[in-house]
């Protein structure tokens, strides 16, 4: 089973790092293939709200950056785990 862990915590967040480490270890012990992405280390352009992904290149962001690779990895995963701090009741913007 392919598992994707998306860590949306800020850099050097020790709690999130520990959670990701424990999760990866546990998944590997269960013979799951885990893929951890620390989103704060990856350059992803913010959404322009241009709707190009609807009417120009349906399903694909018009900005060609790592966001496309992450979307592909997401769709090819059997399980996705989000790690996110909660700020004012909202989850991480990354």
């Amino acid at each position: 089973m392919n598992t994707l862990i998306l860590n949306g915590s800020p850099k050097n967040n020790q709690l999130a790092e520990k959670i990701c480490e424990s999760l990866s270890e546990e998944l590997n012990a269960q013979n799951y293939k885990s893929n951890l992405l620390n989103l704060s280390d990856i350059e992803i352009a913010p959404c322009l709200g241009c709707f190009g992904c609807w009417v120009k290149t349906p399903g694909v962001c018009v900005i060609d950056d790592a966001g496309r690779d992450i979307a592909r990895t997401y769709m090819c995963s059997d399980m996705v785990i989000f790690i996110s701090p909660i700020t004012f009741g909202g989850y991480s913007y990354v």
Binding site: W54, V55, P58, G59, R72, Y74, M75, C76, F88, G89
Partner: protein, 132 residues
């Protein structure tokens, strides 16, 4: 020590969804921020069907915007008087600008026209990242 001045916070959220309630999560986050930052929550106004405004002045859009204009006037009056936004304003702005089925019909037509213009109308149901 001088008492800190009471500061109000009002949030106005709009989205392209026809239903105003789709903005409730955003308003709840604003309300949470307001509490944590020490503001006095003056209320939240939620507007659906924002695509019908499309950046145009509210006056120019005529009767379709009468409830929105009235709600904003009520909210502004209340804030000027140092009061929170009345429920009447929240209820008025929540009302659909046009019936939902008309909004969806026009919206879908517009998206299809734009896709045709970009030569992608046959790809609109594509799922490019889905494993084959």
């Amino acid at each position: 020590m001088e008492k800190a001045k009471k500061q109000f916070m009002l949030a106005i959220c709009q989205s392209g969804f026809p239903e105003a309630h789709q903005n409730q999560t955003a308003l709840a986050i604003c309300r949470c921020f307001s509490r944590e930052a020490g503001f006095t929550w003056a209320g939240g106004l939620a507007l659906g069907g924002g695509g019908a405004i499309n950046g145009q002045p509210l006056e120019k859009l005529g009767g379709m915007m009468r409830n929105v204009r009235k709600a904003l006037d009520l909210a502004a009056g209340a804030l000027a008087a140092g009061s929170p936004v009345p429920e009447e304003a929240c209820a008025l702005i929540r009302k659909p600008l046009v019936p939902g089925w008309i909004y969806l019909l026009m919206g879908n037509l517009m998206w299809k026209m734009q896709a045709r213009k970009n030569g992608s109308s046959k790809k609109m149901n594509d799922r490019p990242y889905e494993p084959t």
